[in-house]
């Protein structure tokens, strides 16, 4: 027996995984974010980490990168127990992380940014740093101009700089937290090529994504987290996206009863295999729910919105696609009435709201659901107060607020929109999904003629996404027009009847959802017109 044990031990050392998490447990109050998680990443492996929002993925990677500490359990690097009490420890252990939020200084060049990451005491050697940038760029197989100022770079290029920055510290394990969320399809291809080069060199990669077709394409192994536990860890080869989706929500893909759930889920996650054909819109007698003409918003050097013309008919969802920063935010602001347009007109259901104040816009039938969820509510006020904040005059009783009518209205909305909170809770204590439900409830309770929606599912888990989608579809089927601004192509392709693409403040293309392909959209989004 001892001999066998000894043998096993030496074998362990020889094949010790690059990094190993053993029995990691982390709690936040009553919430168990990570529950005895075991996870191993081999060298040369892309290990995909999947799970709904709130399943514990970010907590786990934060623990591995030293940004937060586990309550119990240990981290082993090449078989050796290594405490991670700060990112510095993680970097020293050869771990790098690239998150969705980039940590680059916009006004500095690429080289300067990377020098910042590695500055210690002593002399700064600009030429050596520049050479290392070129070296690292060659390692991931992309061209990076070391002297380019970061704010002039595209999102994809910035992400490459972030990866190069992570590689600076002799990195052997790279954590990529939803790296494709901000990328156009062409950049995703480049990223995947880089990942393949790195793993061929023996690096390990932890890849977090919501997009199952990407996971199937790039990963060697897939681990699925649900409610803080690893529910499956399987080789990616031969795995069907549908099976993964089922595992994520805990449904058994084989059981027939769950078919609808799995299908709903698959579409919610962005499996584009079976996009349900949008119901043929009623073609006769359709009026415009939202009519935008020559809308322009002047900017410092060039117009932020350049003569945008667009109409959304009743019973239609029109998508606005584009890489972030091409005027989407400004368009939504102008439509919502928080930024005045420089010129052009906006009509909702025939009423001119171009210069109208917010209450008049709402009265004209405009519903608003912006990407800035926390900026759309007063965080310290209660759920109830936020729900009625825009319609206070409807609940007047003489000069006073009628508490009885408000609480009846709020109770009805909370039930109808399945808001899981108490009406008196401060809204800041709500999860993203619940907060979005409050905002949906507020916007939809007035049966808007036209709804302007921006990034409605950003940061939401699968269940909440699905809920938002069904509400938007329901609104469309009831004859409202929806303008959906999103950076998520899967979302647009699934929901929209038509998709327009904005680039540099202008609409440079329009496709019907039936004929739109990911590649075509991607080309338009990068400014290529056929």
């Amino acid at each position: 027996m001892p001999a066998i044990a000894l043998e096993a031990t030496s074998a362990d050392v020889a094949s010790a995984p690059l990094a190993e998490l053993v029995g990691i447990r982390k709690t936040f109050g009553a919430l168990v974010a990570n529950d005895s998680i075991d996870l191993a990443v081999q060298s040369g492996e892309v290990h995909a980490l999947l799970g709904e929002n709130g399943a514990g993925k970010s907590t786990l990677t934060r623990i591995l990168y030293g940004l937060s500490q586990a309550d119990s359990g240990e981290i082993r690097i090449q078989g050796r127990s290594t405490p991670m009490s700060s990112p510095a420890d993680a970097m020293a252990a050869g771990i790098g992380m690239v998150t969705q939020e980039f940590s680059l200084v916009g006004t500095m060049t690429v080289t300067e940014n990377l020098m910042l990451a590695g500055v210690g005491l002593g002399r700064i050697d600009r030429m050596a740093a520049r050479a290392r940038v070129l070296d690292a760029a060659a390692r991931i197989g992309v061209a990076i101009d070391p002297d380019a100022v970061v704010e002039t770079l595209s999102v994809g290029e910035r992400q490459r700089v972030e990866i190069v920055k992570a590689l600076f510290h002799d990195c052997r394990l790279l954590i990529l937290d939803e790296p494709t969320a901000v990328l156009v399809p062409q950049d995703v291809e480049l990223l995947f090529a880089s990942i393949r080069r790195l793993t061929a060199d023996g690096m390990g990669v932890i890849f977090i994504s919501h997009k199952l077709h990407e996971v199937v394409e790039i990963a060697d192994r897939v681990s699925i987290l649900r409610r803080g536990r690893i529910v499956a860890s399987v080789p990616a080869r031969g795995l069907q996206p549908r099976q993964i989706a089922a595992m994520m929500v805990g449904a058994d893909a084989a059981s027939p009863g769950d078919d609808t759930q799995a299908a709903a889920l698959a579409t919610a996650i962005g499996l584009d295999a079976h996009v349900p054909a949008p119901p043929a819109a009623v073609s006769t007698g359709r009026g415009a729910a939202l009519e935008i003409r020559d809308l322009t918003l002047a900017g410092a050097s060039r117009p932020l919105l350049d003569r945008i013309s667009l109409s959304v008919h009743t019973g239609e969802i029109v998508g606005v696609a584009g890489v972030s920063g091409n005027g989407q935010t400004e368009l939504v602001r102008v439509l919502c009435g928080t930024t005045p347009a420089t010129s052009g007109t906006v009509h909702v259901g025939g009423a001119d709201i171009t210069t109208a104040e917010v209450p008049a816009r709402i009265a004209a039938g405009l519903g608003r659901l912006t990407e800035d969820r926390r900026g759309s509510v007063v965080l310290n006020l209660s759920v109830e107060q936020n729900l009625v904040l825009e319609d206070l005059d409807r609940f007047r009783n003489g000069p006073f607020i009628s508490r009885r009518r408000i609480s009846a209205h709020v109770r009805e909305l909370m039930e109808r929109f399945d808001i899981r909170a108490s009406a008196s809770d401060p809204i800041r204590s709500l999860s993203g999904g619940n907060m979005q439900k409050v905002l949906l409830a507020r916007a939809l309770s007035r049966n808007p003629t036209a709804l302007v929606v921006s990034q409605p599912t950003r940061g939401l888990d699968v269940g909440a996404c699905d809920y938002v989608y069904s509400q938007l579809r329901g609104l469309r089927d009831n004859g409202a027009g929806v303008l959906l601004v999103s950076e998520d192509l899967d979302e647009l392709l699934e929901l929209c009847d038509r998709i327009v693409v904005v680039y540099s403040g202008r609409i440079i293309g329009e496709l019907s959802a039936a004929e739109a392909s990911r590649e075509e959209l991607g080309l338009l989004m990068t400014g290529h017109t056929a």
Binding site: F28, G29, Q69, D71, S72, E74, S81, P83, S85, C336, G337, T338, E357, V358, P359, R361, I362, R368, T370, G375, S376, V377, V378, L379, N380, L381, Q385, L389, E390, L392, D393, F395, R396, P399, F400, I401, S429
Partner: protein, 353 residues
């Protein structure tokens, strides 16, 4: 050890923070009281208990609290909507000047005309003093903290200028105005006490503010605008306009306080009419958590301490400034604890190998 933001807080936490602040205040101020040669326990009794035990001193507490109610309310109204009016002092003084104008130039008016006239003049004076900073804030985006603050000494200089010039006392030649006409005396509320009808007016304003804040759409809009201007704007609340209106109302309330003080207590304009009531109003509003009821309680508390401080200076030979030390320590402790209650401390575990 790490400091983390609390996800949720229980209901008892805010009262507990106030209690902790009171205890810390007692602890900290015991040191200077001891150094001044008095027994801290006896001094605290003088500050907080004695003023409430006799009829005469209770009246003095109410009298002292009256101007603080006006200025505290004025500051609370402005702060609530996110307009940081530090100028209640100047607006209070402007109110005293404006109320003095009819009282000095139309001395023979009968009370039913004289009092409403002088009080209205005080409100207009305070509003006028609040106008310029509010206008600059609205149209030029100039920070109101600086402009309202800087107008305070200007108002004081104006009072002094008037008293050393046209309004110099015609009988004595001292820089105090003539005594106002008899019709301008606010009636006493209680026989044998100096408490005057200004207190009623202040309590009425507190009640109105409370009702507006808690039971009308306007109140909720004001709170939303103060808590998160951008979100309020998104929801169609006209934040700038609300701030503008509240700034003027705040000035009016402070000016009314000034009028109440000259008409109810001084019966003439003097340079020391304010005694820093406008600044203390900031303390009152803050201690009262910007709520009308809180302002009422805080004004009474500070009134009590202030009367107690005079008592203690006579009986215990403590300097009257000790009262200010107690109330400012209380303010700092309360603000500190109320801010700290949002956070919790987390002990970082030692990693076990």
């Amino acid at each position: 050890m790490k400091v983390l933001l609390r996800a949720s807080e229980s209901r008892w936490l805010a009262p507990a923070a106030v209690l902790a602040a009171v205890l810390l205040t007692l602890l900290l101020t015991a040191v200077p009281i001891r150094l001044a040669g008095a027994n801290p326990a006896a001094a605290f009794e003088r500050y907080l208990v004695t003023p409430l035990t006799t009829f005469g001193s209770l009246g003095e507490v109410l009298l002292t609290a009256t101007p603080l109610l006006f200025t505290g309310l004025a500051v609370a109204i402005a702060f609530r909507v996110g307009y940081f009016n530090i100028g209640a002092e100047g607006q209070f003084l402007a109110g005293t000047i404006a109320a003095s104008i009819p009282a000095l130039y139309l001395p023979d008016l009968p009370a039913p005309i004289a009092l409403p006239l002088a009080l209205a003049a005080g409100a207009v004076g305070g509003t006028a003093w609040a106008f310029l900073p509010a206008w600059l804030k609205r149209h030029a985006g100039i920070d109101e903290v600086v402009t309202t603050l800087l107008l305070n000494p200007v108002a004081l200089l104006l009072v002094q200028g008037l008293l050393n010039g046209p309004w110099r006392n015609s009988a004595t030649g001292f820089p105090d105005s003539d005594r106002f006409g008899a019709g301008y005396d606010l009636p006493r509320l209680i026989e044998g006490s100096r408490v005057h009808a200004g207190l009623l007016l202040a309590v009425l304003l507190v009640a109105v503010t409370w009702i507006v804040m808690s039971a009308t759409p306007l109140g909720l809009r004001l709170r939303a605008a103060g808590q998160s201007p951008s979100a309020a704007r998104f929801s169609g609340i006209r934040v700038t306009s609300l701030q503008w209106r509240c700034a003027l109302v705040s000035g009016a309330v402070a000016g009314l306080g000034g009028a109440s003080q000259v008409l109810g207590v001084q019966h003439q304009l003097t340079a020391s009419v304010s005694n820093g009531y406008g600044y203390t109003g900031i303390v009152v509003a803050t201690l009262g958590a910007l709520a009308a009821g809180g302002v009422l309680l805080a004004a009474l508390l500070l009134g009590t301490i202030s009367v107690g401080a005079q008592n203690a200076s006579i009986v215990l030979q403590l300097p009257t400034q000790m009262g200010a030390i107690v109330s400012s320590t209380l303010l700092l402790a309360a603000v500190g604890f109320l801010a700290a209650r949002r956070y919790r401390l987390a002990l970082r575990r030692r990693r076990v190998r």
